[in-house]
């Protein structure tokens, strides 16, 4: 079944566990929700799928909050040739996490209001309406923890929490993983650290162990041992 058909069958309530939650979701755009549910089809129990579908259907942040988070996220991780926070799904991820972990709700929502309060007081307008220079002025004052302080100021903690969510969302996205250069999560044959890397670090594999390490060319030959446990194939 292709993606379009699958989403269709979700909407019809005829396929997969996610349909269960769609059924119970009152109101909202079912097609948009079906799309979101489809994006997360992976080894879930029915109970987990129901939980996820319910959270995906709920909305926590209002429009102004979303715009402010979007602007902040962009400033934290400005776009480059590899990708940006929109491609990384940063907003969708933060929206999900505040519902998943309610401990984020007050610090983030309150942090956003605190930020706007300060901006109105100092510049007469909420954060998103400041000029870029003014936004940098504000962020510079909250982006660095005080190394001497036992407890950081609220706005510093707020920014650190938001930055953590933005940075983690970027590097757990397709564009972020590609940018980082991570090359695994696929079938592969490990045959040790590349020689040039060993040399760069002045390291080598111990001579005594070399005969015992896996010979990758013989990995599909059935293992057999002598009576003393010596591998003979």
């Amino acid at each position: 079944m292709d993606r379009r058909q699958s989403i269709q069958s979700l909407l019809m309530g005829s396929a997969m566990v996610g349909a269960l939650a769609l059924e119970s979701c009152v109101g909202g755009d079912k097609e948009a929700l079906a799309q979101k549910v489809w994006d997360h089809q992976y080894g879930r129990t029915p109970k987990e799928m129901e939980h996820d579908s319910r959270l995906l259907a709920e909305v926590f942040f209002n429009e102004h909050e979303q715009k402010t988070i979007h602007r902040l996220a962009h400033l934290i991780m400005p776009a480059n040739e590899h990708g940006d926070i929109d491609q990384a799904g940063t907003l969708e991820f933060i929206e999900f996490m505040v519902k998943e972990y309610p401990g984020f709700q007050s610090p983030l929502r309150g942090g956003l209001m605190g930020l706007d309060h300060r901006c109105r007081k100092e510049y007469g307008t909420p954060f998103i309406s400041l000029t870029e220079d003014q936004q940098h002025e504000v962020l510079t004052s909250i982006a660095y923890p005080d190394p001497e302080a036992q407890v950081q100021r609220q706005e510093v903690s707020f920014f650190a929490t938001l930055r953590n969510l933005v940075v983690t969302s970027y590097y757990t996205s397709a564009v972020g993983i590609a940018e980082l250069g991570y090359q695994g999560n696929q079938p592969n044959v490990w045959d040790g650290v590349p020689q040039e890397v060993l040399e760069e670090h002045g390291l080598s594999y111990p001579e005594a162990w070399m005969p015992h390490f896996l010979d990758v060319t013989k990995r599909n030959t059935q293992a057999e041992w002598d009576d003393e446990g010596n591998l003979i194939t």
Binding site: D39, Q41, Y42, G43, T45, H51, L55, L56, L75, I76, N80, G89, E92, F96, M97, E100, L139, A143, Y144, P145, P147, F159, R163, V167, T168, Y171, T172, S173, A174, G176, I177, L180, Y182, Q183, G184, N185, Q186, P187, N188, W190, G192, V193, P194, V197, H201, L203, Y205, P206, W209, H212, F213, L214, D215, K218, R219, Q222, A223, W225, G229, L231
Partner: protein, 572 residues
């Protein structure tokens, strides 16, 4: 409501499908016996796309793999955890035990680290050395043939090292160490700590046509879809079910008690079907408990009858006692030489390629028993949490911490793979006063009385944890690294994890020759009920500093052979 009887009478009913239950299922069904397997969770097969998490990307999870739902992250294969909705447990006073439970076919073998260490000759007779705890009634020679058979059946990689208390086996070739593991080796050896290739139940070379050969994705904890790692479901229960035709699987079935006749002998088990919430009875000639150390103890303690007023086979008041988990402490170090690494596919197998077995003589130490060291690090796949406090390591380079903007990318990149961690896992002393019992006031959602725990670490374990941290610090410094975080002090038990956190709990139905001080005999047969056997971690007298799975498997095989013989001779 009436109890519904299943019409069939079985030779054996097995409660639980983890390492012990899976092995019993295979051996007993292959020897021609009709077997019922009763499991508290659903059927699980990692080859089923609906249950698969292997090869998924973090962005396929709306929480990017965070551990908010599953204890070890969203892609971990395990259904269950330290907390299960509707299935509480309680604690006595301010004592604390964190109880990790699986609810799925294959049990906790779908999650574990696959570290598969045989106990050595000294591990069965530790009391001879320090006078603490109790010796096992059996010795290494009794179990060695079964360790050998388990090695060949399931597959384990390692190297023959000729170490007296770390016996060699029938090993597949190990994978070469990763870069950070070579750094660890250098630092550890400079510290006087021995380092050898790890020993894990992952198929690096073909062992049969049913199992695949490892393709190095580092995701054993997600349970392997080609069965290249050992999970009881994939490697024991599913093949036995498919190949013998003599195994019936009862899934989502929560066993309440073992049923008995007027002589006090077992007649089967009574369970609650989680789907229809009805009670059912399965009749069998033999009952094998493999529900996990504490769950099996709970079933026994809940199986009260006029013949067994203190719980089944518990006139010694030993069921539930001598509960003990491994000790554990962890530490991280930052290795500046590993900054700005060249990136390549470093996934390797799921877990460590090298480890350090216990290397010291306790005569020169202020604590008994030992621990082994596991090492972690490398160029892993990002998951939730990656990039949190992305530049906190700046502090060690004299640079400001924090900030935002384009520099984040450079900082994340330069620190990727530069942190190495170590975990010590050691042996605690089994104490009569560390126990689980039935809480008279609390039931789970199935109406079954729950366990209440009483567990306190002693100075033996605290001193061991302190020694772990001292050692980790030296190793990190000898690697050219900087130790991260403060050394935990006495107020924090020197960083010793809460009991239960290492998930190696054993000892609740311990083995012995004396029915007054033990629950089962040398063949894991209950002293007081000859047709009930226990093949999980419960019969362990002591747990060594070795992860218990390989010993559970070997003992379960040995016990199953004994059951087959006894049934043939009509002894039970």
């Amino acid at each position: 409501m009436q109890i519904i009887d299943q019409s069939k009478t079985y030779d054996v009913v097995i409660v639980g499908s983890g390492a012990g239950g899976g092995m019993a299922t295979k051996v007993l069904s292959e020897s021609g016996l009709n077997v019922a397997v009763v499991e508290a969770g659903p059927y699980f097969d990692p080859a089923d796309p609906a249950q698969q998490t292997q090869f998924k990307w973090p962005y396929e999870s709306p929480r990017r793999g965070a551990s908010t739902q599953r204890a070890f992250g969203d892609f971990d294969a395990l259904y269950g955890g330290w907390e299960i909705e509707g299935e509480p447990y309680t604690q006595v006073g301010d004592t604390k035990f964190d109880w990790f439970r699986a609810r799925m076919m294959g049990g906790r073998t779908n999650h574990w680290g696959r570290i598969s260490l045989r106990f050595g000759p000294e591990d069965f007779k530790s009391k001879n050395k320090d006078g603490l705890g109790e010796n096992w009634p059996i010795s290494y020679e009794d179990i060695k043939p079964y360790y050998d058979k388990v090695d060949k059946l399931i597959g384990i990689f390692g190297t023959k090292e000729g170490l007296h208390n770390e016996p060699d086996g029938f090993f597949l070739p190990p994978p070469k160490p990763r870069l950070h593991e070579l750094y660890y080796k250098m630092g550890a050896e400079k510290t006087g700590v021995k380092v050898i290739p790890s020993r894990m139940s992952i198929v690096t070379k073909r062992i049969n046509q049913e199992r695949g050969v490892c393709y190095y994705c580092n995701q054993c904890s997600r349970s392997c879809q080609i069965y290249a790692d050992f999970s009881s479901s994939s490697c024991l229960v599913i093949p036995a079910h498919k190949n013998t035709g003599r195994v019936d699987l009862y899934m989502n079935a929560m066993v309440r008690e073992v049923t008995t006749d007027d002589e006090g002998r077992a007649t089967g088990v009574l369970y609650v079907n989680k789907e229809d919430r009805q009670e059912y009875r399965i009749k069998a000639k033999v009952v094998v408990l493999a529900a996990s150390a504490c769950s099996s103890a709970r079933i026994l303690l809940n199986s009260k009858s006029p013949q067994h007023p203190n719980g089944l086979g518990n006139s010694s008041d030993t069921v539930g006692r001598y509960l003990h988990d491994s000790t554990g402490a962890d530490r991280m170090g930052f290795v500046p030489k590993l900054m700005n690494r060249k990136i390549y596919n470093e996934d390797g197998v799921g877990g460590l390629h090298l480890y350090s077995p216990w290397w010291l003589d306790n005569k020169k130490l202020d604590f008994p028993r030992g621990y082994h060291i596991e090492v972690w690090g490398g160029l892993g796949m990002p998951s939730y949490g990656f990039g949190f406090n992305h530049n906190y390591l700046n502090e060690y380079l004299g640079l400001p911490v924090g900030g935002y903007g384009p520099k984040i990318r450079e900082e994340v990149r330069q620190y990727y793979g530069a942190v190495v961690g170590m975990s010590g896992r050691g042996e605690s002393i089994a104490l009569r006063d560390n126990y689980c019992e039935i809480d008279p006031n609390v039931v789970d959602e199935f109406g079954i009385p729950v366990l209440r725990f009483h567990y306190k670490w002693s100075d033996h374990e605290r001193k061991q944890a302190k020694h772990m941290h001292d050692t980790f610090e030296q190793i990190i410094e000898n690697m050219g690294g900087v130790v991260l975080g403060q050394k935990p002090g006495a107020d924090q038990n020197y960083g010793l994890h809460t009991p239960g956190r290492i998930i190696h709990e054993v000892g609740t139905t311990r083995m012995g020759d004396d029915p007054k001080t033990s629950v089962v005999n040398r063949f894991e047969q209950m002293h007081e009920v000859d047709n009930v056997f226990i093949v999980d971690g419960g019969p362990f007298v002591s747990q060594a500093d070795k992860n218990p799975t390989w010993t559970i498997l070997a003992l379960a095989w040995r016990t199953s052979d004994y059951i087959v013989e006894a049934l043939k001779k009509q002894n039970i």
